[in-house]
Amino acid sequence: MVATTQAENEQDEQPVITVKGLVNRFGSVIVHEDLDLTLKQGEILGVVGGSGTGKSVLLRSIVGLKRPNGGTIDVLGSRLNELNEQQRSQVERRFGVLFQRGALFSSLNLQENVALPLIEHAKLSRKDAEYLARIKLSLVGLPAKAALQFPESLSGGMVKRAALARALALDPDILFLDEPTAGLDPIGAAAFDQLLVTLRDALGFSVFLVTHDLDTLYAACDRVAVLSQKRVLVADTLENVANTDDEWVQAYFNGPRGRAAQYAANASTSGLKE
Protein backbone atom coordinates (compact mmCIF):
# COMPACT_ATOMS: atom_id res chain seq x y z
CA MET A 1 0.00 0.00 0.00
CA VAL A 2 2.92 2.33 0.72
CA ALA A 3 4.23 1.63 -2.74
CA THR A 4 0.98 2.69 -4.43
CA THR A 5 0.88 5.92 -2.46
CA GLN A 6 4.41 6.74 -3.49
CA ALA A 7 3.59 6.00 -7.11
CA GLU A 8 0.66 8.38 -6.87
CA ASN A 9 2.96 11.04 -5.40
CA GLU A 10 5.18 11.04 -8.42
CA GLN A 11 2.23 11.72 -10.68
CA ASP A 12 0.94 14.45 -8.43
CA GLU A 13 2.83 17.60 -9.34
CA GLN A 14 1.14 20.13 -7.08
CA PRO A 15 2.79 20.03 -3.64
CA VAL A 16 0.50 20.71 -0.63
CA ILE A 17 3.03 22.99 1.05
CA THR A 18 5.63 25.12 -0.67
CA VAL A 19 7.91 27.25 1.47
CA LYS A 20 10.12 29.70 -0.42
CA GLY A 21 12.80 31.98 0.93
CA LEU A 22 11.48 31.81 4.50
CA VAL A 23 13.15 34.15 7.01
CA ASN A 24 12.56 33.91 10.76
CA ARG A 25 14.27 36.11 13.32
CA PHE A 26 13.98 36.49 17.07
CA GLY A 27 15.52 39.87 17.81
CA SER A 28 19.01 39.70 16.33
CA VAL A 29 19.07 35.89 16.30
CA ILE A 30 18.41 34.55 12.80
CA VAL A 31 16.73 31.14 12.89
CA HIS A 32 15.87 30.66 9.21
CA GLU A 33 17.35 32.43 6.24
CA ASP A 34 16.23 31.76 2.67
CA LEU A 35 14.70 28.40 3.60
CA ASP A 36 12.96 26.36 0.86
CA LEU A 37 10.88 23.25 1.50
CA THR A 38 8.03 21.35 -0.16
CA LEU A 39 5.62 18.77 1.18
CA LYS A 40 4.08 16.50 -1.47
CA GLN A 41 0.57 15.11 -1.47
CA GLY A 42 0.23 11.99 0.69
CA GLU A 43 3.82 11.75 1.86
CA ILE A 44 5.29 11.60 5.33
CA LEU A 45 8.12 14.12 5.50
CA GLY A 46 10.48 13.79 8.44
CA VAL A 47 12.12 17.06 9.51
CA VAL A 48 15.32 16.57 11.49
CA GLY A 49 18.06 18.84 12.75
CA GLY A 50 20.14 19.53 15.81
CA SER A 51 18.60 21.22 18.84
CA GLY A 52 17.99 24.90 18.16
CA THR A 53 17.96 24.64 14.36
CA GLY A 54 14.36 25.87 14.31
CA LYS A 55 12.38 22.72 13.52
CA SER A 56 9.50 23.71 15.76
CA VAL A 57 9.73 27.33 14.60
CA LEU A 58 9.32 26.13 11.02
CA LEU A 59 6.25 24.11 12.03
CA ARG A 60 4.82 27.08 13.91
CA SER A 61 5.31 29.44 10.98
CA ILE A 62 3.57 27.05 8.58
CA VAL A 63 0.54 26.51 10.83
CA GLY A 64 0.34 30.25 11.47
CA LEU A 65 1.38 30.49 15.11
CA LYS A 66 4.39 32.63 14.21
CA ARG A 67 4.45 35.31 11.55
CA PRO A 68 7.54 34.84 9.37
CA ASN A 69 9.87 37.82 8.88
CA GLY A 70 10.14 37.15 5.18
CA GLY A 71 9.48 34.70 2.37
CA THR A 72 6.29 32.98 1.26
CA ILE A 73 4.37 29.92 2.40
CA ASP A 74 1.84 28.37 -0.01
CA VAL A 75 -0.50 25.85 1.54
CA LEU A 76 -3.08 23.88 -0.48
CA GLY A 77 -2.91 26.41 -3.29
CA SER A 78 -3.26 29.60 -1.28
CA ARG A 79 -0.59 31.98 -0.04
CA LEU A 80 -0.95 32.18 3.73
CA ASN A 81 0.21 35.75 4.39
CA GLU A 82 -2.09 37.17 1.71
CA LEU A 83 -5.28 35.70 3.14
CA ASN A 84 -7.66 37.61 5.36
CA GLU A 85 -8.58 36.21 8.73
CA GLN A 86 -11.63 34.27 7.56
CA GLN A 87 -9.92 32.68 4.57
CA ARG A 88 -7.01 31.82 6.79
CA SER A 89 -9.28 30.10 9.29
CA GLN A 90 -10.77 28.08 6.40
CA VAL A 91 -7.28 26.88 5.44
CA GLU A 92 -6.32 26.21 9.04
CA ARG A 93 -9.30 23.91 9.45
CA ARG A 94 -7.63 21.58 7.02
CA PHE A 95 -4.63 21.28 9.36
CA GLY A 96 -4.30 18.83 12.21
CA VAL A 97 -1.59 19.65 14.73
CA LEU A 98 -0.18 17.35 17.39
CA PHE A 99 1.85 19.37 19.87
CA GLN A 100 4.91 18.06 21.60
CA ARG A 101 3.26 17.44 24.96
CA GLY A 102 -0.17 16.61 23.58
CA ALA A 103 -1.78 19.91 24.63
CA LEU A 104 -5.07 18.19 25.43
CA PHE A 105 -7.56 20.51 27.12
CA SER A 106 -7.25 19.54 30.77
CA SER A 107 -10.80 20.52 31.73
CA LEU A 108 -12.41 18.24 29.10
CA ASN A 109 -12.45 14.46 28.95
CA LEU A 110 -11.07 12.69 25.89
CA GLN A 111 -14.26 12.43 23.87
CA GLU A 112 -15.02 16.11 24.57
CA ASN A 113 -11.47 17.00 23.51
CA VAL A 114 -12.00 15.32 20.14
CA ALA A 115 -15.62 16.45 19.80
CA LEU A 116 -14.83 20.15 20.35
CA PRO A 117 -13.71 20.94 16.76
CA LEU A 118 -16.59 18.82 15.42
CA ILE A 119 -19.11 20.86 17.41
CA GLU A 120 -17.46 24.23 16.76
CA HIS A 121 -16.51 23.87 13.09
CA ALA A 122 -18.70 21.09 11.66
CA LYS A 123 -21.76 22.25 13.68
CA LEU A 124 -22.67 18.73 14.74
CA SER A 125 -24.92 18.09 17.72
CA ARG A 126 -23.08 17.09 20.90
CA LYS A 127 -24.39 13.52 20.67
CA ASP A 128 -23.24 13.02 17.05
CA ALA A 129 -19.93 14.72 17.72
CA GLU A 130 -19.20 12.52 20.73
CA TYR A 131 -20.14 9.40 18.78
CA LEU A 132 -17.72 10.34 16.00
CA ALA A 133 -15.14 11.25 18.64
CA ARG A 134 -15.35 7.74 20.10
CA ILE A 135 -14.82 6.27 16.62
CA LYS A 136 -11.74 8.50 16.23
CA LEU A 137 -10.44 7.38 19.63
CA SER A 138 -10.96 3.76 18.65
CA LEU A 139 -9.25 4.48 15.32
CA VAL A 140 -6.05 5.52 17.13
CA GLY A 141 -6.25 2.44 19.31
CA LEU A 142 -7.69 3.75 22.56
CA PRO A 143 -10.20 1.58 24.44
CA ALA A 144 -13.80 2.80 24.70
CA LYS A 145 -13.64 3.36 28.44
CA ALA A 146 -10.85 5.91 27.96
CA ALA A 147 -13.36 8.24 26.30
CA LEU A 148 -14.60 9.52 29.66
CA GLN A 149 -11.16 9.87 31.24
CA PHE A 150 -9.46 13.21 31.76
CA PRO A 151 -6.02 13.93 30.32
CA GLU A 152 -4.29 14.12 33.71
CA SER A 153 -5.06 10.44 34.43
CA LEU A 154 -3.47 9.18 31.19
CA SER A 155 -0.04 7.74 30.46
CA GLY A 156 2.26 9.50 27.98
CA GLY A 157 1.46 7.09 25.15
CA MET A 158 -2.28 7.48 25.63
CA VAL A 159 -1.96 11.28 25.66
CA LYS A 160 -0.13 11.13 22.31
CA ARG A 161 -2.79 8.86 20.83
CA ALA A 162 -5.63 11.02 22.12
CA ALA A 163 -3.89 14.13 20.77
CA LEU A 164 -3.59 12.37 17.41
CA ALA A 165 -7.32 11.60 17.50
CA ARG A 166 -8.02 15.29 18.16
CA ALA A 167 -5.69 16.33 15.32
CA LEU A 168 -7.63 13.94 13.03
CA ALA A 169 -11.03 15.18 14.21
CA LEU A 170 -11.87 17.15 11.07
CA ASP A 171 -10.16 14.74 8.63
CA PRO A 172 -7.29 17.13 7.90
CA ASP A 173 -5.41 17.24 4.62
CA ILE A 174 -2.15 17.97 6.36
CA LEU A 175 -1.07 16.61 9.71
CA PHE A 176 1.68 18.38 11.66
CA LEU A 177 3.39 16.31 14.31
CA ASP A 178 5.93 17.81 16.73
CA GLU A 179 8.07 15.02 18.16
CA PRO A 180 5.20 12.53 18.47
CA THR A 181 7.33 9.69 19.82
CA ALA A 182 9.37 11.73 22.33
CA GLY A 183 8.85 10.33 25.81
CA LEU A 184 7.27 7.08 24.65
CA ASP A 185 8.76 3.67 25.40
CA PRO A 186 10.22 1.86 22.34
CA ILE A 187 7.19 -0.43 22.00
CA GLY A 188 4.75 2.48 22.22
CA ALA A 189 6.87 4.50 19.80
CA ALA A 190 7.00 1.67 17.25
CA ALA A 191 3.24 1.20 17.57
CA PHE A 192 2.77 4.92 17.00
CA ASP A 193 4.91 4.82 13.82
CA GLN A 194 2.87 1.89 12.55
CA LEU A 195 -0.38 3.65 13.41
CA LEU A 196 0.72 6.77 11.57
CA VAL A 197 1.53 4.85 8.38
CA THR A 198 -1.73 2.87 8.54
CA LEU A 199 -3.83 6.00 9.02
CA ARG A 200 -1.96 7.87 6.30
CA ASP A 201 -2.63 5.00 3.88
CA ALA A 202 -6.28 4.90 4.88
CA LEU A 203 -7.05 8.60 5.18
CA GLY A 204 -4.57 9.89 2.61
CA PHE A 205 -3.30 12.98 4.43
CA SER A 206 0.19 14.44 4.14
CA VAL A 207 2.37 14.50 7.23
CA PHE A 208 4.91 17.10 8.36
CA LEU A 209 6.78 15.26 11.08
CA VAL A 210 9.34 16.97 13.31
CA THR A 211 11.34 14.33 15.13
CA HIS A 212 14.59 13.27 16.75
CA ASP A 213 13.65 9.62 16.58
CA LEU A 214 15.79 7.74 14.04
CA ASP A 215 13.55 4.69 14.20
CA THR A 216 10.55 6.81 13.18
CA LEU A 217 12.51 8.10 10.19
CA TYR A 218 13.26 4.57 9.04
CA ALA A 219 9.83 3.14 9.85
CA ALA A 220 7.48 5.88 8.69
CA CYS A 221 9.02 8.60 6.56
CA ASP A 222 8.98 8.77 2.75
CA ARG A 223 11.36 11.70 2.64
CA VAL A 224 13.62 13.40 5.15
CA ALA A 225 14.50 17.09 5.31
CA VAL A 226 17.60 18.12 7.24
CA LEU A 227 17.59 21.57 8.82
CA SER A 228 21.05 22.98 9.25
CA GLN A 229 22.80 26.33 8.87
CA LYS A 230 19.46 28.21 8.91
CA ARG A 231 18.05 26.43 5.86
CA VAL A 232 17.05 23.01 4.55
CA LEU A 233 20.37 21.36 3.80
CA VAL A 234 18.88 18.45 1.91
CA ALA A 235 15.41 16.96 1.42
CA ASP A 236 15.30 13.57 -0.22
CA THR A 237 14.76 9.88 0.41
CA LEU A 238 16.47 8.46 3.43
CA GLU A 239 19.30 6.72 1.53
CA ASN A 240 20.20 9.85 -0.41
CA VAL A 241 20.11 11.99 2.71
CA ALA A 242 22.28 9.52 4.63
CA ASN A 243 24.87 9.71 1.84
CA THR A 244 25.03 13.51 1.86
CA ASP A 245 28.50 14.84 2.46
CA ASP A 246 27.92 16.91 5.57
CA GLU A 247 29.49 16.54 8.97
CA TRP A 248 26.23 16.76 10.94
CA VAL A 249 24.29 14.46 8.58
CA GLN A 250 27.05 11.87 8.73
CA ALA A 251 27.23 12.04 12.51
CA TYR A 252 23.45 11.76 12.71
CA PHE A 253 22.78 8.89 10.32
CA ASN A 254 26.04 6.99 10.57
CA GLY A 255 26.67 7.43 14.29
CA PRO A 256 26.06 4.45 16.59
CA ARG A 257 22.35 5.19 17.02
CA GLY A 258 21.81 5.85 13.33
CA ARG A 259 23.47 2.58 12.38
CA ALA A 260 21.40 0.69 14.98
CA ALA A 261 18.15 2.14 13.60
CA GLN A 262 19.25 1.34 10.04
CA TYR A 263 20.10 -2.22 11.03
CA ALA A 264 16.73 -2.65 12.77
CA ALA A 265 14.87 -1.23 9.76
CA ASN A 266 16.72 -3.52 7.32
CA ALA A 267 16.12 -6.54 9.54
CA SER A 268 12.38 -5.86 9.75
CA THR A 269 11.94 -5.31 5.98
CA SER A 270 13.91 -8.44 5.04
CA GLY A 271 11.88 -10.31 7.66
CA LEU A 272 8.70 -9.14 5.94
CA LYS A 273 9.91 -10.25 2.51
CA GLU A 274 10.42 -13.78 3.72
Binding site: S106, L118, D128, I135, A144, P151, A202
Partner: protein, 369 residues
Protein backbone atom coordinates in the same frame (compact mmCIF):
# COMPACT_ATOMS: atom_id res chain seq x y z
CA UNK B 1 -33.50 16.24 -2.98
CA UNK B 2 -32.30 14.30 0.06
CA UNK B 3 -32.26 11.19 -2.11
CA UNK B 4 -29.15 12.55 -3.75
CA UNK B 5 -26.88 10.34 -1.64
CA UNK B 6 -28.87 7.11 -1.76
CA UNK B 7 -30.82 5.97 -4.83
CA UNK B 8 -32.98 2.91 -5.12
CA UNK B 9 -33.20 0.89 -8.30
CA UNK B 10 -35.35 -2.23 -8.35
CA UNK B 11 -34.90 -2.73 -4.63
CA UNK B 12 -31.13 -2.37 -4.66
CA UNK B 13 -29.48 0.66 -3.04
CA UNK B 14 -26.64 2.57 -4.52
CA UNK B 15 -24.69 5.21 -2.59
CA UNK B 16 -23.21 8.15 -4.39
CA UNK B 17 -21.72 11.67 -4.20
CA UNK B 18 -19.84 13.04 -1.22
CA UNK B 19 -20.13 11.11 2.02
CA UNK B 20 -18.36 13.65 4.20
CA UNK B 21 -18.63 15.48 7.50
CA UNK B 22 -20.23 18.51 5.84
CA UNK B 23 -23.38 16.51 5.03
CA UNK B 24 -23.38 14.57 8.29
CA UNK B 25 -26.85 15.53 9.48
CA UNK B 26 -28.60 14.84 6.16
CA UNK B 27 -26.75 11.57 5.81
CA UNK B 28 -27.64 10.47 9.35
CA UNK B 29 -31.36 10.79 8.66
CA UNK B 30 -30.98 8.91 5.33
CA UNK B 31 -29.07 6.12 7.04
CA UNK B 32 -31.85 5.85 9.62
CA UNK B 33 -34.49 5.72 6.87
CA UNK B 34 -32.81 3.09 4.71
CA UNK B 35 -31.44 1.06 7.64
CA UNK B 36 -33.88 -1.83 7.18
CA UNK B 37 -33.73 -1.90 3.38
CA UNK B 38 -29.96 -2.14 3.42
CA UNK B 39 -30.02 -5.33 5.47
CA UNK B 40 -31.98 -7.32 2.88
CA UNK B 41 -30.80 -5.82 -0.40
CA UNK B 42 -27.62 -5.41 -2.36
CA UNK B 43 -25.85 -2.11 -1.83
CA UNK B 44 -23.38 -0.61 -4.25
CA UNK B 45 -20.80 1.95 -3.17
CA UNK B 46 -19.40 2.64 -6.61
CA UNK B 47 -20.93 6.10 -6.99
CA UNK B 48 -19.18 7.62 -3.99
CA UNK B 49 -16.88 10.45 -5.03
CA UNK B 50 -15.57 11.58 -1.66
CA UNK B 51 -15.33 9.76 1.62
CA UNK B 52 -14.01 10.72 5.05
CA UNK B 53 -14.13 9.07 8.45
CA UNK B 54 -17.53 10.53 9.31
CA UNK B 55 -19.01 9.23 6.04
CA UNK B 56 -17.31 5.90 6.48
CA UNK B 57 -18.76 5.60 9.98
CA UNK B 58 -22.26 6.15 8.57
CA UNK B 59 -21.76 3.54 5.85
CA UNK B 60 -20.62 1.05 8.46
CA UNK B 61 -23.70 1.92 10.50
CA UNK B 62 -25.89 1.38 7.43
CA UNK B 63 -24.37 -1.91 6.32
CA UNK B 64 -23.09 -3.49 9.49
CA UNK B 65 -19.40 -4.12 10.09
CA UNK B 66 -18.82 -7.38 8.17
CA UNK B 67 -20.98 -6.36 5.24
CA UNK B 68 -19.21 -3.00 5.00
CA UNK B 69 -15.80 -4.66 4.81
CA UNK B 70 -16.99 -6.94 1.99
CA UNK B 71 -18.64 -4.15 0.06
CA UNK B 72 -15.50 -2.04 0.40
CA UNK B 73 -13.44 -4.75 -1.24
CA UNK B 74 -15.96 -5.04 -4.10
CA UNK B 75 -16.73 -1.57 -5.20
CA UNK B 76 -14.37 1.11 -3.88
CA UNK B 77 -11.01 2.42 -5.08
CA UNK B 78 -8.00 1.33 -2.99
CA UNK B 79 -7.68 4.41 -0.85
CA UNK B 80 -11.33 4.66 0.17
CA UNK B 81 -11.44 0.91 0.66
CA UNK B 82 -8.62 1.13 3.21
CA UNK B 83 -10.43 3.96 4.98
CA UNK B 84 -13.73 2.09 5.20
CA UNK B 85 -12.08 -1.11 6.44
CA UNK B 86 -10.08 0.83 9.02
CA UNK B 87 -13.18 2.63 10.34
CA UNK B 88 -15.14 -0.63 10.38
CA UNK B 89 -12.38 -2.20 12.46
CA UNK B 90 -12.42 0.75 14.80
CA UNK B 91 -16.16 0.33 15.28
CA UNK B 92 -15.84 -3.34 16.22
CA UNK B 93 -15.10 -2.45 19.82
CA UNK B 94 -18.21 -1.36 21.70
CA UNK B 95 -18.40 2.41 21.45
CA UNK B 96 -21.23 3.30 23.77
CA UNK B 97 -19.99 4.35 27.15
CA UNK B 98 -22.74 5.53 29.43
CA UNK B 99 -21.91 7.03 32.79
CA UNK B 100 -23.14 4.91 35.71
CA UNK B 101 -26.90 4.93 36.14
CA UNK B 102 -27.73 7.56 38.72
CA UNK B 103 -30.51 8.04 41.18
CA UNK B 104 -30.99 11.69 42.12
CA UNK B 105 -31.69 11.20 45.81
CA UNK B 106 -28.78 8.83 46.24
CA UNK B 107 -26.61 11.27 44.28
CA UNK B 108 -27.64 14.17 46.50
CA UNK B 109 -26.93 12.17 49.65
CA UNK B 110 -23.61 11.05 48.25
CA UNK B 111 -22.68 14.64 47.43
CA UNK B 112 -23.58 15.79 50.95
CA UNK B 113 -21.52 12.97 52.38
CA UNK B 114 -18.57 13.73 50.13
CA UNK B 115 -18.71 17.41 51.04
CA UNK B 116 -18.78 16.67 54.76
CA UNK B 117 -15.92 14.20 54.56
CA UNK B 118 -14.05 16.66 52.34
CA UNK B 119 -14.56 19.48 54.84
CA UNK B 120 -13.41 17.32 57.72
CA UNK B 121 -10.32 16.06 55.93
CA UNK B 122 -9.53 19.62 54.83
CA UNK B 123 -9.54 20.81 58.46
CA UNK B 124 -7.41 17.87 59.51
CA UNK B 125 -4.97 18.59 56.70
CA UNK B 126 -4.81 22.24 57.75
CA UNK B 127 -4.09 21.32 61.37
CA UNK B 128 -1.47 18.78 60.32
CA UNK B 129 0.17 21.32 58.02
CA UNK B 130 0.19 23.98 60.78
CA UNK B 131 1.89 21.43 63.01
CA UNK B 132 4.44 20.61 60.34
CA UNK B 133 5.24 24.27 59.72
CA UNK B 134 5.56 25.02 63.44
CA UNK B 135 7.78 21.98 64.01
CA UNK B 136 10.04 23.00 61.14
CA UNK B 137 10.06 26.60 62.41
CA UNK B 138 11.18 25.60 65.91
CA UNK B 139 13.75 23.15 64.64
CA UNK B 140 15.36 25.94 62.64
CA UNK B 141 14.98 28.65 65.27
CA UNK B 142 18.40 28.10 66.83
CA UNK B 143 20.23 27.36 63.61
CA UNK B 144 20.55 30.80 62.01
CA UNK B 145 22.89 29.53 59.29
CA UNK B 146 19.89 27.82 57.70
CA UNK B 147 17.64 30.89 57.73
CA UNK B 148 16.73 31.92 54.20
CA UNK B 149 17.28 35.67 54.42
CA UNK B 150 17.25 36.39 50.68
CA UNK B 151 14.01 34.57 49.99
CA UNK B 152 12.34 36.04 53.08
CA UNK B 153 13.35 39.60 52.20
CA UNK B 154 12.15 39.09 48.61
CA UNK B 155 8.76 37.94 49.88
CA UNK B 156 8.55 40.87 52.33
CA UNK B 157 9.21 43.12 49.37
CA UNK B 158 6.50 41.63 47.16
CA UNK B 159 3.82 40.92 49.75
CA UNK B 160 4.52 43.73 52.25
CA UNK B 161 6.18 46.76 50.69
CA UNK B 162 4.32 46.51 47.39
CA UNK B 163 1.01 46.33 49.25
CA UNK B 164 1.54 49.58 51.21
CA UNK B 165 -0.10 51.94 48.65
CA UNK B 166 -3.27 49.87 48.26
CA UNK B 167 -3.62 49.26 52.02
CA UNK B 168 -3.08 52.94 52.78
CA UNK B 169 -5.57 54.11 50.16
CA UNK B 170 -8.24 51.64 51.17
CA UNK B 171 -8.05 52.31 54.92
CA UNK B 172 -7.92 56.06 54.29
CA UNK B 173 -11.23 55.87 52.42
CA UNK B 174 -12.86 53.59 54.97
CA UNK B 175 -11.66 55.96 57.73
CA UNK B 176 -13.38 58.85 55.98
CA UNK B 177 -16.59 56.85 55.55
CA UNK B 178 -16.65 55.82 59.22
CA UNK B 179 -16.18 59.45 60.25
CA UNK B 180 -19.05 60.61 58.05
CA UNK B 181 -21.30 57.85 59.29
CA UNK B 182 -20.44 58.57 62.95
CA UNK B 183 -20.97 62.28 62.47
CA UNK B 184 -24.42 61.75 60.94
CA UNK B 185 -25.62 59.64 63.87
CA UNK B 186 -23.86 61.55 66.67
CA UNK B 187 -25.01 64.95 65.42
CA UNK B 188 -28.53 64.20 66.66
CA UNK B 189 -27.17 63.91 70.20
CA UNK B 190 -24.93 66.93 69.82
CA UNK B 191 -21.97 64.65 70.33
CA UNK B 192 -20.18 65.19 67.02
CA UNK B 193 -16.86 65.39 68.82
CA UNK B 194 -17.11 61.70 69.68
CA UNK B 195 -16.58 60.92 66.00
CA UNK B 196 -12.89 61.10 66.89
CA UNK B 197 -13.30 58.32 69.44
CA UNK B 198 -15.32 56.25 67.00
CA UNK B 199 -12.69 56.40 64.29
CA UNK B 200 -9.84 55.83 66.73
CA UNK B 201 -11.45 52.88 68.51
CA UNK B 202 -12.60 51.13 65.36
CA UNK B 203 -9.33 51.52 63.50
CA UNK B 204 -6.95 50.73 66.34
CA UNK B 205 -8.86 47.70 67.55
CA UNK B 206 -10.40 46.27 64.40
CA UNK B 207 -10.36 47.90 61.01
CA UNK B 208 -6.67 48.64 60.55
CA UNK B 209 -5.59 45.06 61.03
CA UNK B 210 -8.72 43.46 59.56
CA UNK B 211 -8.64 45.41 56.29
CA UNK B 212 -4.92 44.83 55.90
CA UNK B 213 -5.40 41.11 56.54
CA UNK B 214 -8.27 40.79 54.06
CA UNK B 215 -6.26 42.59 51.39
CA UNK B 216 -3.30 40.36 52.09
CA UNK B 217 -5.51 37.28 51.87
CA UNK B 218 -6.75 38.34 48.45
CA UNK B 219 -3.41 39.54 47.21
CA UNK B 220 -0.84 37.21 48.72
CA UNK B 221 -2.59 33.95 49.63
CA UNK B 222 -3.66 33.62 46.00
CA UNK B 223 -0.15 34.41 44.80
CA UNK B 224 1.36 31.78 47.12
CA UNK B 225 -1.13 29.16 45.94
CA UNK B 226 -0.50 29.90 42.28
CA UNK B 227 3.31 29.92 42.74
CA UNK B 228 3.46 26.66 44.67
CA UNK B 229 0.75 25.10 42.48
CA UNK B 230 2.71 25.82 39.31
CA UNK B 231 5.81 24.36 40.98
CA UNK B 232 3.83 21.31 42.05
CA UNK B 233 2.47 20.61 38.58
CA UNK B 234 5.94 21.13 37.10
CA UNK B 235 7.23 18.45 39.55
CA UNK B 236 9.61 21.03 41.08
CA UNK B 237 8.48 20.14 44.59
CA UNK B 238 9.10 16.44 43.90
CA UNK B 239 12.54 17.40 42.59
CA UNK B 240 13.32 19.21 45.86
CA UNK B 241 12.24 16.22 47.91
CA UNK B 242 14.19 13.81 45.72
CA UNK B 243 17.32 15.90 46.38
CA UNK B 244 16.74 15.55 50.10
CA UNK B 245 15.66 19.19 50.50
CA UNK B 246 12.69 20.14 52.62
CA UNK B 247 10.05 22.11 50.68
CA UNK B 248 8.59 23.37 53.97
CA UNK B 249 11.94 24.86 54.94
CA UNK B 250 12.74 26.22 51.48
CA UNK B 251 9.36 27.38 50.24
CA UNK B 252 6.85 27.67 53.06
CA UNK B 253 8.85 29.17 55.93
CA UNK B 254 10.23 32.15 53.98
CA UNK B 255 6.70 32.98 52.85
CA UNK B 256 5.09 32.58 56.27
CA UNK B 257 7.85 34.51 58.04
CA UNK B 258 7.63 37.25 55.43
CA UNK B 259 3.92 37.59 56.18
CA UNK B 260 4.57 37.53 59.95
CA UNK B 261 6.80 40.57 59.46
CA UNK B 262 4.73 42.31 56.76
CA UNK B 263 1.24 42.14 58.18
CA UNK B 264 1.89 43.94 61.53
CA UNK B 265 3.62 46.71 59.58
CA UNK B 266 0.76 46.89 57.07
CA UNK B 267 -1.74 46.90 59.94
CA UNK B 268 0.14 49.85 61.48
CA UNK B 269 0.03 51.66 58.13
CA UNK B 270 -3.68 50.88 57.93
CA UNK B 271 -4.38 52.28 61.41
CA UNK B 272 -2.51 55.51 60.73
CA UNK B 273 -4.08 55.94 57.33
CA UNK B 274 -7.58 55.33 58.68
CA UNK B 275 -7.00 57.94 61.39
CA UNK B 276 -5.79 60.40 58.75
CA UNK B 277 -8.96 59.75 56.74
CA UNK B 278 -11.10 60.38 59.82
CA UNK B 279 -9.11 63.49 60.69
CA UNK B 280 -9.56 64.86 57.19
CA UNK B 281 -13.34 64.51 57.36
CA UNK B 282 -13.32 65.96 60.90
CA UNK B 283 -11.40 69.08 59.92
CA UNK B 284 -12.97 69.69 56.53
CA UNK B 285 -16.63 69.11 57.32
CA UNK B 286 -17.18 68.76 61.07
CA UNK B 287 -15.36 71.89 62.34
CA UNK B 288 -13.00 69.92 64.52
CA UNK B 289 -9.46 71.24 64.33
CA UNK B 290 -6.40 69.04 63.96
CA UNK B 291 -5.13 69.99 67.38
CA UNK B 292 -8.49 69.14 68.96
CA UNK B 293 -8.41 65.80 67.12
CA UNK B 294 -4.93 65.07 68.49
CA UNK B 295 -5.66 66.04 72.08
CA UNK B 296 -8.89 63.99 72.15
CA UNK B 297 -6.99 61.07 70.73
CA UNK B 298 -4.34 61.31 73.43
CA UNK B 299 -6.83 61.87 76.24
CA UNK B 300 -9.53 59.30 75.42
CA UNK B 301 -7.77 56.45 73.66
CA UNK B 302 -5.29 54.40 75.63
CA UNK B 303 -2.40 52.57 74.02
CA UNK B 304 -3.94 49.20 74.98
CA UNK B 305 -6.38 49.45 72.06
CA UNK B 306 -3.48 49.77 69.67
CA UNK B 307 -1.82 46.74 71.24
CA UNK B 308 -5.02 44.70 71.13
CA UNK B 309 -5.36 45.43 67.42
CA UNK B 310 -1.74 44.74 66.62
CA UNK B 311 -1.67 41.49 68.63
CA UNK B 312 -4.01 39.88 66.11
CA UNK B 313 -1.77 40.64 63.13
CA UNK B 314 0.73 37.77 63.53
CA UNK B 315 -2.11 35.26 63.99
CA UNK B 316 -3.80 36.44 60.80
CA UNK B 317 -0.49 36.45 58.95
CA UNK B 318 0.28 32.88 59.98
CA UNK B 319 -3.17 31.62 58.97
CA UNK B 320 -3.08 33.39 55.59
CA UNK B 321 0.43 32.15 54.81
CA UNK B 322 -0.24 28.57 55.85
CA UNK B 323 -3.54 28.31 53.94
CA UNK B 324 -2.00 29.86 50.82
CA UNK B 325 0.91 27.42 50.86
CA UNK B 326 -1.18 24.35 51.74
CA UNK B 327 -3.62 24.97 48.89
CA UNK B 328 -0.63 25.32 46.58
CA UNK B 329 0.63 21.88 47.63
CA UNK B 330 -2.82 20.40 46.97
CA UNK B 331 -2.72 21.37 43.27
CA UNK B 332 -2.71 18.32 41.01
CA UNK B 333 -1.54 18.74 37.44
CA UNK B 334 -4.26 20.48 35.53
CA UNK B 335 -4.74 24.20 34.97
CA UNK B 336 -8.26 23.91 36.36
CA UNK B 337 -6.87 22.59 39.61
CA UNK B 338 -4.61 25.65 40.00
CA UNK B 339 -7.66 27.88 39.52
CA UNK B 340 -9.93 26.08 41.97
CA UNK B 341 -7.26 25.90 44.68
CA UNK B 342 -6.43 29.59 44.28
CA UNK B 343 -10.08 30.45 44.76
CA UNK B 344 -10.31 28.11 47.70
CA UNK B 345 -7.23 29.61 49.34
CA UNK B 346 -8.63 33.16 49.15
CA UNK B 347 -12.08 32.14 50.42
CA UNK B 348 -10.65 30.04 53.23
CA UNK B 349 -8.14 32.61 54.41
CA UNK B 350 -10.69 35.47 54.45
CA UNK B 351 -13.14 33.22 56.27
CA UNK B 352 -10.55 32.22 58.86
CA UNK B 353 -9.42 35.84 59.35
CA UNK B 354 -12.96 37.02 60.07
CA UNK B 355 -13.74 34.01 62.27
CA UNK B 356 -10.62 34.53 64.37
CA UNK B 357 -11.33 38.25 64.57
CA UNK B 358 -14.82 37.58 65.91
CA UNK B 359 -13.51 35.13 68.50
CA UNK B 360 -10.76 37.59 69.49
CA UNK B 361 -13.31 40.41 69.88
CA UNK B 362 -15.32 38.26 72.31
CA UNK B 363 -12.18 37.26 74.19
CA UNK B 364 -10.87 40.81 74.61
CA UNK B 365 -14.30 42.09 75.61
CA UNK B 366 -14.70 39.47 78.35
CA UNK B 367 -11.25 40.35 79.66
CA UNK B 368 -12.16 44.01 79.58
CA UNK B 369 -9.06 45.04 77.58
Amino acid sequence: MPNEWITRESGNLSLQHEWTLVHYQALTSLVARYGDTAKNHAVSLGGITQLDTAGAALIVKLLGIENAKQQAANSLPTKQQALLVRVAEAMETPLDVEPANNNRIVDALATVGQQMVGLWSQQRQLLAFIGLVLATLFSLLFRPHRWRFTATIAHIHSSGLNAVPIVALLTFMVGAVVAFLGATVLQDFGATVYTIDLVAFSFLREFGVLLAAILLAGRTASAFTAQLGAMKSNEEIDALQAQGLDPIELLVLPRVIALLISLPLLAFVGMLSGLVGGAMVATLSLDISISQFMTTLQKDVSVSHFLVGLSKAPVFAFVIGVIGCLEGFKVSGSAQSVGSHTTSSVVQSIFMVILIDALAALFFMELGW
